[in-house]
Symmetry: D2
Subunit: 364 residues, 4 copies
């Protein structure tokens, strides 16, 4: 397996759904950044299960411990270990699934790849693995904050319902995390109806990064959008990624797609804040497609390890729609990717010729 | 910059549009694989400009030299250097663009990031950079061939025209590389009309990998779809990536999306051949959104390095739609990602418990 | 900072001397390897402080917890988190050293590099950091055991006293870990005398790996000796590395140094089991120079952060000679390097032409 | 194979002894650094064969071509390809060695590892591979120069003759590259006598880096001495590495080894300019043990691929002592390691609290 993301700022996660703990080591963090467990906890609390009716009812306090890399309240430059003990682990719940390959899950592929499978609540392939990502992402967010950049994700689609507004303040005030006051209750109802029907819903999460300076990203292989895609597509259940106009760009003409530059700055942002793999200084906007959760109550058929057909139904505490809980994870991966790109840019900056940027005035 | 892709099989590319040469070093290739310049040339010829009316008319023979890593016709395990000399370089053509930031291009971001910009035909951010990718991808393709796997990409959308058929044999017989006999001429005409109008068109390219064994991919950070996304999103002009149902999955319910497993194998492939970041053994299917080329003949306005507004028009030899030429590059990145995943799987396989796979019989 | 070692098998350590915990994540371990906390504990117990009069009297039980990557007693292929809580932390002991730059220590360089310094017992630069290495190394040792290879380190020099015998069984029976029954008591006495005098002694540790198959190592940059040197030189207090005849080779002639090959195998092993960066199948033998511990009771002079001259004396629980405790750490780094090289070789092996090895018969 | 060294500044080499070309790609170089082929050529000329009677008589002009990454005389931030065509390749000379395993060479291990061996002049394991290192190192040297740091290597021992002086200016004025006017002719004579006798001599090369700022190096795994050891031990024929007092430190007491810090700076430099894996600001001094060349004219016995005993004698153009030619390669690897560490330090520096360094005044 490969549990590390990043080049200079590297997160390595560990932990299985019903194992004793989950967490991460974040290595390469700059020194001198004020850091406490409380700051990390804030992001973890946003990810925690059981926050509302639209998420799983598993109860995990997810209290993080900061085991290293901090001294007298600031980062030291050393690797930062972040550990969360599991409390509500119920491995026995999964005994009946032991020999089954649940459709849509990684049961068959893990079994096939490793010859051994931790069947307790999906083991390593569980969404619980993202605890370490979110904890590390909280530190990455502080690095970005230190230069004034910020990242927010929010749900923009649930099933067929599409958000039209981007009222970002409102996004954190409703359980679906949608920035649209009108669509929020519709989406919530759709999710509850799906759960009622024993089914689940997909959706789309948008991520927006503001005040990211121009110049981040490392062509040609670590273009900013490529690294964002890598990080975001590594989140379970994500089936697609796009930046700026994304797939809609495929239907445009060049004359429509090109963002005109004016003495007052960029006149539009079809590019989503990235040109040639490098940030333009405009907001970075990308979206990910989240599939409907595979764990549904509706009875399904599948095969077991011996190839026999089996009926089964999942009766657990599952999310009927993943979007609200993917939001903090998507933010975390975005923060990690951007903070890493920032460090990489800082590495060469002393050699970059200082030029007067004609767009700076426009932005100031 | 960061010009390397891969972990065990690593390609590092070099070269600018109008510099003396472009190419790559491929490191980590297994020994004993028959390799000649001719095999690499075959893929390069498919990428070469000037093949038809729907692509740029720049004339580059793009003859590859194999400078190392091969002895008596087989790979030795050493790094393989692949170099292509540029012939039709015309740096002077670009002198008038020297101080301009062309909209949609990386002119501003390179200038901002590096403080210096090779303005000759986009320099490093040119599509010409992909020569090294395609050359290295040809070797990766041989690694995959050695276990019977194969990769093919093709255009499935140009502007608003969507291919419905997947006649893969036909894809290489038409200039648009679309696997649909009815749509091919429509797309070709649309491209020529766009060029005629001084404009350009976007599109979608689909990549399909067949006979990829189950078990490839390294969760949780190097999930197969994440690495494919990384590689494919690092190609210039690509604005989106999706695997299997992709963004359409966001509109599905779990009961529709889950691919049922039967004693006869998977009953569907909404997942696109990957579950939990690991290949299932089903065909891997993904798509990328390609934006319309930014170089258009229609006069545009922009600013120069001093912030002054400038009118300009590009009168060059540009692609009116990138899809046909992205096809071999997308194949190359896919081959590189899959071959790398294959090597990584081989590394642990001696320790994997050999299990009888109930789906094998179905597939055999 | 950079706390990761390895390519396919990657250890990332964390923890400071007087912080709440130390440990590591080992990522990339093959699945199916029987692993328990007890096996890891065995190696940790060999590293533990307070084992004899010749080491520090700090009392740490160093009980390891295995937090992930193991299911039903075997590794799953997932990242393995190994955590050891600190018990005998006494940060207050170090308050008086807060503003001093102790000579021979990393106080000045950490302060200079990071602008902040965890002064409690050297913080991250403490030997306590090696707990994570030893824990991860214990797992790497199991990977090697699975193919019959084994690694042992032992003290071969303390101050001016040089071991002549290689009675490896005896090495673990004496506190200095020297494989020479005659020299062991002399070394022990020398160490105690140095402590008595408030001083400390340097020494040399030799590492020997047996039954390592021919073919491990990745030229030209990851030659086996280069990676071993990297890993072993990253241990605190190590000032030199050599393989085979090492520095003595600089005084030899080619006719003496070349190991003749015969139908019965290699006639000698001046090379130390590595030729051209690849293992020969002979025992791998290397040595590291260990400096005398910098923490001595003799009063010293130094400067403080304000540049004022200061007298000070260290009155702590320090090792008078590091060799006995470096032994398990050197084994750990060697196991990690060799296991990584083994995995990398396995990755390409399916493509390696199977040849009849004329030396195999000799070895069999 | 693995032909890449470095993290942010990464060199990847290619090429075999008697193949068409050798060279490297250097990726991650900062932009804005004046660079011409002439500057690179200067270092290559120092490495070139045939410069004096004490080196091989093979005649290679080794003219470097700069294929990318430079525009209008300065680096652009893009990957830099450096290629040297081989002229005096005589693969036929090696036909008689085709099936032999030459003692001391990598013939057996390459054959065993890869199942195929480029037997022409050692193929990839030839010293000719270092052309790419030296070319890339020349660029790394420029990065260091931009902050005033400089690196010089020189021979300090040949066989039993040890240099006592460090007259660095003289080192480049004699063919052995020894900084000792008295010992130079003795060493030269010893080398010629060894050649006359059909034999070869080992030696020691010392590397010294001046004006390296304090703060470079990334504990705990990428400590500066560890990365230097990695880079220098990856040079063929190097069997040992030490920094500062190195192996002599093993015979010292702590009270002798600790470098006292005074208001006027460090009073000594037993540490060799590195403490805790981070540069102190003092000169970095390390040494490598170079084995006698394995290619000797004296008839030897060995076995062939079928295990038959064979007599053979090497009648080629070989170096009787490698030290003079290892000198520029050791400089190159040191420059690459230091420049990489410099970039990594620059990456975090904006977050490092600016402190008044009490030792600065002493140095100023």
């Amino acid at each position: 397996m490969s549990s590390t993301f990043g080049r200079l700022l590297r997160v390595t996660t560990f932990g299985e759904s019903h194992g004793p703990a989950v967490g991460a080591i974040l290595d390469g963090c700059p020194p001198g950044i004020p850091l406490t467990a409380e700051v990390v906890q804030r992001d973890l609390d946003r990810r925690r299960p059981g926050q509302s009716a639209v998420t799983t009812q598993r109860k995990e306090p997810d209290k993080v411990e900061l085991l290293s890399g901090v001294f007298e309240g600031v980062t030291t430059g050393a690797s930062i270990a972040l550990v969360v003990r599991s409390v509500d682990a119920r491995p026995a719940d999964y005994a009946n699934l032991k020999d089954l390959f649940r459709p849509g899950h990684a049961d068959y592929t893990y079994w096939k790849k490793y010859g051994v499978r931790d069947y307790r609540g999906s083991g390593r392939s569980s969404g619980r693995e993202t605890v370490g990502r979110v904890a590390a992402g909280a530190v990455a967010r502080l690095i970005l904050s230190s230069i004034g950049a910020r990242v927010q994700a929010y749900t923009v689609q649930v099933g067929d319902i599409v958000a039209e507004k981007r009222d970002l303040g409102f996004a954190e005030e409703n359980p679906v995390r949608v920035p649209d006051r009108e669509k929020a209750p519709l989406m919530e109802r759709a999710i509850l109806a799906a759960r009622e029907a024993g089914d689940s819903l997909g959706g789309v999460v948008e991520i927006r990064a503001d005040c990211v300076p121009a110049g981040l990203g490392d062509p040609v292989m670590d273009k900013l959008e490529a690294v964002l895609a890598w990080g975001l597509m590594s989140i379970g259940a994500v089936k697609g990624f796009e930046v700026g106009d994304g797939f809609a760009a495929s239907r445009r003409r060049g004359s429509e797609m090109n963002d005109r530059m004016t003495p007052g700055g960029f006149a539009s942002n079809h590019a989503g804040g990235i040109l040639g793999g490098i940030s333009t200084g405009e907001p970075i906007v990308c979206r990910i497609a989240v599939k409907p959760p595979s764990s549904i109550a509706i009875p399904q058929k599948t095969v077991d390890v011996e190839g026999k057909e089996r009926d089964f139904a999942i009766s657990g505490r599952h999310d009927p729609c993943l979007c609200p809980r993917v939001v903090p994870v998507a933010e975390a991966m975005t923060c990690l990717a951007l903070a890493d790109a920032l460090l990489r840019q800082r590495a060469i900056e002393p050699w970059v010729k200082k030029l007067e940027d004609p767009l700076h005035k426009a932005r100031a």
